[in-house]
Symmetry: C2
Subunit: 397 residues, 2 copies
């Protein structure tokens, strides 16, 4: 670990004294292909659902943070105007696939700073009206022009994991089987049907060893959460507060290149910050929502988080330990592979799932007895660095 990393980590440790933060309301729209819906329309539905779940007077909302990538100017304001909350402070944030989680981080800081007691964090994205098939790379992304698109990057990393640890293509495919099975139990998920290992393996090759069913889809959707300070939880008698014990955000350092493509230092470093702030370790985490944009991505995330030793996650999945009834359920919501991936909404929807699980409201996907859950996003690539943004939230019952 470099001096720079040590400095950042020491400085990022929680300093105490700031108010504790709770999630008191959650809501989301159906995720899926909804090309005729606007960000205002989706955002309104998610926000209303979260406000209704929180059962508070909407006028108690003091500020809003809105995460998105492609929705144009002042999206958060446009959504607030639709839900009757025009006039409050609104901040729009973008951190590629971590945009929604960055909105939660913003709301968390506004409460921690003592500026607000009740904050709305939302994420929204309409993609299917904009992209046919896969997302087009940014103009001027010279790496993507050379073929280094997201599927090929995650395919290379899968190949490295296979070479180093003896991981098989079937083990990777089982990540999709698990997540799509979980999604079939989630009414908000894009994919409604469980699939077999054979179906995943027989699906169209995208970038060897990844098949179509191992890639997250193009989706439209929105999600929202209501955050409160501890004193607001008491003053407003919030019915079901879930502690947002920590939110951590880091960007990637300079590209480590091919030194170890089978491991993800950015996820590891962000996790150290999150664990330190929450005062927990990976051994305390009962389940997690992680950024499974590809089947191989889930492997990199879970191992990078230190939840399973390096190289062992594919066998862990094969043994059923990551299933909803297993030792450490991963992506009980269906994850990006099953629930869908409307970029800005994803990080918020992960927290929606954590809250539902920790409250015992997850219905047929309910995990027994988990006391702490973790949500992990990792956003995009940027030329020369290992990733644009990684976010981790830890929630405790």
């Amino acid at each position: 670990m470099s001096d720079q990393e040590q400095f950042v980590m020491a400085e990022q440790a929680d300093r105490g004294g700031a108010p504790a933060v709770y999630v008191v309301g959650v809501g989301m729209t159906q995720f899926g292909k909804q090309p005729d819906r606007t960000p205002e329309d989706l955002g309104r539905e998610a926000v209303w659902a979260a406000l209704q779940d929180a059962a508070i007077d909407p006028r108690k909302i003091e500020a809003a943070y809105c995460g998105h990538v492609y929705q144009g100017m002042a999206v958060g304001q446009r959504v607030m105007a639709q839900v009757g909350l025009a006039g409050i402070p609104v901040t729009n944030v973008e951190n590629v696939c971590s945009s929604g989680a960055t909105a939660i981080h913003g709301g968390y800081l506004a409460i921690r700073a003592g500026e607000c007691d009740v904050v709305l964090a939302l994420g929204v994205e309409c993609l299917t009206g904009r992209f046919r098939g896969a997302l087009a790379p940014e103009e001027g992304d010279f790496e993507a022009l050379q073929g280094m698109t997201m599927p090929s990057i995650y395919a290379m990393r899968a190949r490295r994991h296979m070479e180093t640890y003896g991981t098989t293509a079937e083990q990777l495919a089982r990540v999709s089987v698990k997540n799509k099975r979980n999604a079939s139990l989630n009414p908000y998920a894009q994919f409604k049907k469980a699939v077999t290992l054979e179906e995943v393996m027989a699906s169209r090759p995208i970038a060897e060893p990844l098949k179509l069913m191992e890639c997250s889809p193009v989706s439209d959707g929105a999600a929202a959460v209501v955050l409160m300070s501890e004193r607001a939880v008491r003053a407003l008698a919030a019915r079901k507060p879930t502690r947002l014990a920590a939110v951590a955000l880091l960007s990637g350092t300079y590209e480590p290149g091919l030194t170890d493509m089978a491991f993800e230092p950015l996820t590891w470093r962000t996790a150290q910050v999150a664990y330190a702030r929450a005062g927990v370790g990976p051994e305390d985490i009962g389940f997690a929502e992680v950024h499974d944009c590809f089947s191989s991505a889930e492997v990199l995330r879970v191992e990078g988080l230190g939840l399973v030793p390096r190289g062992e996650y594919p066998r862990f999945v094969e043994a059923g330990h990551a299933d909803i009834g297993g030792k450490l359920p991963i992506n009980p919501s269906g994850g990006l592979l099953g629930k869908g991936h409307p970029l800005g909404a994803t990080g918020v929807a992960q927290v929606v799932e954590l809250v539902r699980q920790l409250r015992g409201e997850a219905g047929p996907r309910q995990i027994d007895g988990a006391k702490a859950g973790l949500a992990h996003c990792r956003g995009g690539k940027a030329a020369g660095i290992e990733g644009a943004a990684c976010t981790i939230a830890i929630l405790t019952a």
Copy 2:
């Protein structure tokens, strides 16, 4: 004032206990037409200048907030990678013309929350490579399609002010004369030449009564500031701390329509929050940088801030009171009309000017003896609400 407004304002008042925040380094690029420069290139120059001005080890920077509108994904991360600061938490924010100020608000909250002690806030925008002539309205902006573009809105508001208060077209034009004269004293400004009243009045009509020289230009540029907590100021022996006494952010409530186009309730409301947080009143403000996107806009801002009674600012300008040597200098930097308006950079550049003035480093534009300065931005329109975002920062020597 509605219940909603009262609630927001009461809740927005500063709650104390959180660390005080200081600006310890400022930097900006030349503003102007620089179509060949990238946001990374401009951002790097501004950040380096701010770091050099702060005279601190760049590795002390713990997080960055980047404001922009049109620069695509992960701009802040791309700039950080260029200045050797990859790896820290980076948050990209967008609030139309208040984007840069919103980045400062983000950094301010990160310090107030105790999460960071040293934060970089920057704003960057490349417009001339993207737009020929005026900025094109957003797709789907049905108001703009009907002719309600920015120049026509500010022309209508000018007309209303003329009707209500007897303001003359010449008085409005004098705002441009003043700001372009100030800009001629600012080496970073887009316009290098003072202009006469006759030249402004003879410039091409844009939307009656506004002429070309009364409209802010399309610009490229970047600006950056280093923020520190009070304890970091001491621990790192910052040479020239300037207190960031308050940052306030509000979005617009539902469009008041034609009830009083000569006044700006959003600016007024945001000012009340800012004054309350800073513990000062308009009478304590010695000078201000305000969002003069049009000559008439400066009138609405200064009167909305309560710095000059309603209806009186045009005569105040005519009397020379808003000049650098006057009672209440407005836009000593040259403002948007003279310095230029690279959207995301504007709010940060305003704070750069405030700091230079309060330190006594403004050279030929130096204002004597001012102890408190105010920076005001107002961003965009959004269908159905009076404005997307208004931000006010108050700095004290």
